[in-house]
């Protein structure tokens, strides 16, 4: 018992008649439908990523494999020395932009930020830390549709047009996952290397989780 108990009990009792009647079968069916949609989207993104990889290899070959590919997939096996590229930013599908983050590589945050800016997507990219704007949060809406390919590659379709004015994408790149959030331009930032509450949490092996 503590000093708050009377008010907390009052609130608890006042809501005690509130019940959720939705049968579990409906939730299970909705979940199955959602999984089917995700699988369809994933198969489409796999094809897009394959096309992206092909284009990136071409870029690497053009450069003669002499330097790191700033943007693109791992170079061809014949390229030496091997410097793995970490991401790609490509147009499409539609008016969206696709950001692909390859697993097990080191990210150059400045390069990613600049590439996204070239595609009209303002972003704050951090490695090993994640920044959010303090004060009112910005609705994430349908700005990013994330997915993870079977090989652990993270694919994010970004709808830049859906970003509210005065916002940018905060991307926190960690060893095992990526965190994304919309932040307000000019607002004070709170950056943390610990978990916090991500808008979208993508693990290397699983379905993206909002939470």
């Amino acid at each position: 018992m503590n000093e708050h108990d009377d008010v907390m009990c009052l609130v608890r009792e006042s809501f005690s008649g509130l019940r959720m009647d939705l049968p579990v079968e409906d939730v299970l069916a909705a979940g199955r439908a959602r999984r089917r949609r995700q699988r369809r989207r994933l198969s489409g993104l796999t094809a897009a990523a394959a096309a992206t990889a092909g284009a990136a290899v071409a870029v690497t070959l053009t450069l003669g494999g002499a330097g790191p590919a700033r943007s693109g997939a791992p170079p061809s096996p014949s390229a030496s020395p091997v410097t793995l590229a970490t991401f790609s930013v490509t147009d499409g599908p539609g008016h969206s932009t696709t950001l692909t983050l390859y697993k097990g590589t080191r990210l150059d945050p400045s390069a990613l930020r600049e590439d996204l800016a070239r595609h009209g997507i303002p972003a704050l990219v951090t490695v090993g830390t994640f920044c959010r704007s303090t004060g009112a949060s910005v609705s994430f809406g349908q700005v990013v549709q994330p997915s993870t390919l079977p090989d652990g590659t993270d694919v994010m379709v970004i709808n830049g047009a859906a970003m509210p004015p005065g916002t940018r994408l905060s991307i926190g790149y960690f060893a095992g996952h990526v965190r994304l959030l919309l932040i307000k331009d000019g607002a004070p930032l709170s950056c943390s290397s610990t978990s916090g509450q991500p808008a979208v949490h993508i693990t290397p092996s699983g379905t993206p989780i909002r939470g």
Binding site: H4, V7, V11, L18, R19, V24, V27, Q142, G206, P208
Partner: protein, 169 residues
């Protein structure tokens, strides 16, 4: 899958009412809360392999439901956004919840409502509430104290002080 499905079904049946109450207390609207909670449970089932390992799966559901926000609800219902795009849709919790209490809850800052809801309806302790919301434990304690004080002040029966003027908006 059968075992996982049974496990999720048990989790859903045991948690749905408390999650609905928590989300309703924050958003102040039963219909909105129910749809957000249903969607959050659907996402929990889709990612059950991960959610089941979460330190507080019910808190994950509530957090996910609240993250969906009013804008998600409006998209789902093809509503035209209003100027203040993330304020709660007017409505009410119904089911016998005291309207004065709802009005008092709505007057609290969102963060205080969240702390209150997680503590009351999910029985989370201060540490877990802090992790779920992403603030320090001391901040949770401060939010809770302020929220309770404000509610106590708002809900005080008028007859206790004949000179007092109570204005319930």
């Amino acid at each position: 899958m059968g075992h996982e499905q049974d496990e999720f079904a048990d989790f859903y049946r045991a948690s749905r009412d408390s999650c609905l109450r928590a989300v309703t207390a924050v958003v102040g609207d039963r219909e909105l809360a129910e749809e957000q909670v249903a969607e959050a449970f659907t996402r929990a089932w889709t990612s059950w392999g991960q959610v089941r390992r979460h330190a507080a799966p019910r808190a994950w559901v509530v957090r996910t439901a609240l993250n969906l926000g009013v804008s998600w609800w409006r998209r789902r219902h093809r509503e035209v956004p209003l100027a203040d795009h993330d304020s709660a849709v007017p409505g009410g919790p119904g089911d016998g919840v005291d309207p004065a209490l709802i009005a008092a809850l709505r007057r609290l800052p969102t963060r205080q409502r969240e702390v209150l809801a997680l503590r009351i309806f999910l029985d989370l302790d201060t540490e877990t509430t802090a992790k779920v919301i992403g603030v320090a434990p001391g901040t949770v304690t401060a939010h809770l104290s302020r929220a309770v004080a404000a509610l106590r002040r708002d809900l005080q029966p008028a007859h206790t002080d004949p000179d007092a003027t109570e204005v319930i908006r």
